[in-house]
């Protein structure tokens, strides 16, 4: 399949003109004059050769004329090659399969996989196919391809996970893949009502058809909605999402052994608490599990941590030898988290960080760098080694950051304008509201928009850097990139209330806490199945019609951008000029052959 596309495909209609010389040729042949002549015997020898030669010339002339007209039409249609990724130019069928926790009921994923396989088989032969698995996020399992076996085998590998459901996320991802071409979306899901509750954005462009295949939810579901330790007991709440009364055993399991068991009876769509008493281990965790044969499996268990979680060590590097205000706002914000027990914040001037012992460095879950002007060579090396060795660093590029030594501090060049940009009143906008840092701002979504900065530094585009948020002027506000084995998040303004009033904004505390949680994610104890979204346990579903009506239709905002990209590509390739040159050569050849033939 060729990647040939056209900027003005309507001109291809002109290729119909190529039929004119063909019709003339056929017409001419039909009306060939027959002359009765007495001395044909004298014509015999020469004309046979002439006739053959003439037929060849006629065919050559015809080919040249047709080629000239086709080339003219194709040249006016402005052809360009869209690249080797041929499926990009084909109409696309996107199969989006729900892999959220609510698909984990027995047999549910089997039915979903079967439906997706049927949808793939029924897709038009002219379509490329793409496969998306979605829950909280939508992941492209198979990029657009014409290889249907790859789609089929990928469908067979799909399985439910513990994530929630966000239909708009799946729709938005489908829309992104389809872009400006003809598209069709097949959604295979249990159509869970809670999938529409998230306040995120996403829809399908006008003209993209959608087919919704519903996978029936289970008749009921039992879920452990909470569990906590009370002295020697563990108290768990069990929710019955079914329409019939259920009596089910609840077990307490430690290290794979049942240490307590109780029966719980729950009214239809009701809940019940159960106390489990047994000899709890000194540390580690225990699991509360309810037996549920027909419902979702991932919400049948919940872990209870028996140890108190240690606070995570957070270092804040400032350029404030007096220790008066540097890092104050960050410190105060992080102290709030977890009732003051989640983070252990250590604020130090740059000259003091060399005093960190090796043990302290290894305990450090994340580092905030708010100033570098007081760092000496050893101090810069400490930060550089920490970051490149797998550390998590947030850099605020405020006035206390020395642009000249920043590359030495980080071990990588950031590529930015050293002179700060004055941006009075610029607000911050998240590029992707689904990013964990910005989850607190989804509802109300305007909270982050109240943040205003007066100055910031302008980062230049750099490969491998993801822009998480931008200022209203378009410059990057918050970026994320890998450095060595570590991760670097850059805030291009200040967090010490010098270049911005952000630290005084209500959004600052959740921003600082979530950013720190995001950076320290790998150091946090895993709660296992306890991370299940409770809304996901409710199997209440919409109908196919309700689901289809809930899909927002959007205009193809990317159309103009795609057209401009295509125009740039066509401008660079300039195949139309080559086409016209070949057309002129064909016409010259036609004139030459035509003159000899007449």
């Amino acid at each position: 399949m060729s990647g040939l596309s056209f900027l003005s495909p309507l001109f291809l209609i002109g290729a119909i003109a190529a039929a004119v010389p063909i019709l003339l040729h056929l017409f001419h042949r039909k009306t060939e004059v027959v002359i009765d002549f007495p001395a044909v015997s004298l014509l015999k020898r020469a004309p046979v050769q002439q006739h053959r030669r003439r037929r060849l010339r006629e065919l050559l002339l015809l080919a040249l004329r047709v080629a000239a007209l086709l080339l003219l039409a194709v040249s006016f249609a402005r052809p360009y090659f869209a690249g080797a990724a041929a499926p990009d130019s084909l109409p696309l069928t996107v199969i989006a399969v729900d892999t959220s926790m609510s698909m984990s009921a027995p047999g549910q994923m089997d039915r979903a996989r079967a439906a997706a396989t049927r949808a793939a088989a029924a897709a038009p032969a002219s379509h490329a196919l793409a496969l998306i698995g979605f829950g909280d996020a939508a992941a492209v399992v198979v990029e657009p391809t014409t290889d249907r076996s790859a789609i089929t085998s990928a469908i067979a590998q799909l399985s439910a996970n513990a994530s929630g459901t966000r239909f708009r996320t799946a729709l938005a991802r489908s829309s992104e893949i389809i872009g400006t071409r003809e598209g069709h979306v097949v959604i295979v899901s249990d159509l869970q009502q809670s999938g529409w509750e998230s306040n995120d954005d996403g829809g399908l462009p006008d003209g993209v058809s959608v087919e919704v295949i519903g996978v029936p939810p289970p008749a009921g579901n039992l879920a452990v909605t909470s569990a906590e330790r009370r002295d020697r007991r563990v108290v768990a709440s069990i929710q019955n999402y079914g329409n019939v009364e259920v009596r089910a055993p609840v077990r307490l399991i430690a290290a794979g052994k049942e240490i307590a068991r109780a029966e719980v009876t729950m009214a239809p769509r009701g809940a019940g608490d159960v106390e489990l008493t047994g000899s709890l281990p000194a540390g580690g965790d225990v699991e509360v599990r309810v037996d549920d044969a027909i419902g979702y499996q991932a919400d049948n268990a919940r872990k209870v941590l028996l140890d108190s979680t240690p606070a995570l060590a957070i270092a804040v590097v400032v350029a404030d030898p007096t220790g008066s205000t540097g890092g104050l706002y960050v410190e105060r914000a992080l102290k709030v988290a977890g009732n003051g027990r989640e983070f252990d914040v250590d604020v130090r001037d740059g000259r003091q960080i060399v005093k960190w012992t090796e043990a302290e460095r290894s305990r450090m879950a994340a580092m905030f760098v708010l100033g570098t002007r007081t760092l000496d060579r050893n101090g810069r090396q400490v930060i550089r080694n920490y970051l490149n060795g797998g550390g998590q660093v947030l850099l605020a590029m405020g006035p206390d950051v020395d642009p000249g030594t920043l590359g030495d501090v980080l071990g990588t060049q950031l590529a930015f304008d050293e002179t700060p940009v004055r941006s009075a009143g610029a607000t911050m906008i998240a590029s992707d509201g689904r990013h964990p840092i910005f989850r607190p701002f989804l509802n109300p979504s305007g909270a982050l928009g109240d943040v205003q900065v007066e100055q910031h530094r302008r980062l230049k585009d750099q490969a491998g850097r993801i822009v998480l948020a931008r200022f209203s002027g378009g410059d990057a506000a918050l970026t994320e990139q890998a450095v060595g084995q570590g991760r670097l998040i850059v805030f291009t303004s200040d967090l010490d209330n010098e270049w911005s009033r952000f630290p005084l904004n209500p959004a600052f505390v959740p921003f600082a806490v979530e950013t720190t949680r995001y950076l320290t994610k790998s150091r946090r104890p895993q709660q296992g199945t306890a991370a299940v979204d409770l809304r996901e346990s409710n199997p209440a579903a919409t109908t196919v019609a309700e689901f289809t009506n809930a899909i927002e239709r959007t205009t193809r905002a990317g159309l103009l951008q795609a057209k401009n990209a295509a125009r740039d590509l066509e401008d660079r390739q300039r195949w139309w000029q080559i086409g016209l040159v070949i057309m002129l050569v064909a016409l010259a050849g036609e004139a030459l052959v035509g003159r000899r033939a007449t």
């Binding site: 002359i35 009765d36 002549f37 007495p38 001395a39 003439r54």
Partner: protein, 297 residues
Amino acid sequence: MAGAARFLDPAIVARLGTIDLKARTIVEGFLTGLHRSPYKGFSVEFAEYRQYLPGDDLATLDWKVYARSDRHFVKKYEEETNLTCHLLIDVSGSMGYASGEVTKLQYASYLTGALAYLMHRQRDSFGLIAFDDSISALLPASARSGHLRAILLALERLEIGARTNVAKPLNDLAAAVRKRGMVVLISDLLDDPANVLDGLKHFRYRGTDVIVFHVLDPFELKFPYEHAARFRDMETAEEVMAVPDSIRQDYIEKMQNLIACYRRELGLVGIDYCQLDTSQPLELGLMAYLMTRRRVL
């Protein structure tokens, strides 16, 4: 073309009524013209006096003139011959071709009629044979009154036949003709030249004088077609696709070679050859005939 203007255009002759009228018009006009022409001595009706020369037959001396003028003049009487002439006309399919108003067959029939009329006036005996690949009409030679009408009627009823085969009727006729005479062949000779020559040589070996009128159409001579066309043979229906511009020169050379071949080979055996095209006056044919007859007699 002052000379040509004295003669009748074959296209004009074609518009005349019956072939009888056509023949008479051609011959009378031709003979009238001869009085002013350099061919005066060939007239059959013109009688003259000339001074007696030693050796002249005394019986031809006009005694009345001698009595009036005391001079000796010889009186030339109107000619009387016993010439038997066979008119052979080709009616094969190719004779039906015409680029203008007159087909080759029409032209040949006018010429044949004119010759018959002329022979009738000379009180020669004459007959008609029409042929294609066989003899399709045969009127034996005769000098009877009324024979001219039969000949002209037969000419008027001629129809286009099949393929040309000149040799066969010539051989048949050669076997039948026992009396010294004259054969006039009017044909387009689009046959194998060797066959035609073989047939005609039979007559010459028997002492029969032969005159061949090779009738062609101007388009056959010049091949002036402009556009590519499919040329279909009028006798065999064989078709040949040709671009005239590309083959004209080759064709004309072949045609001229054919004419030259006939002229040369027939001349070698003493056969008169006259090539006519259907745009030329018929009188040219009569003139050629009279020249041949003069030699015969």
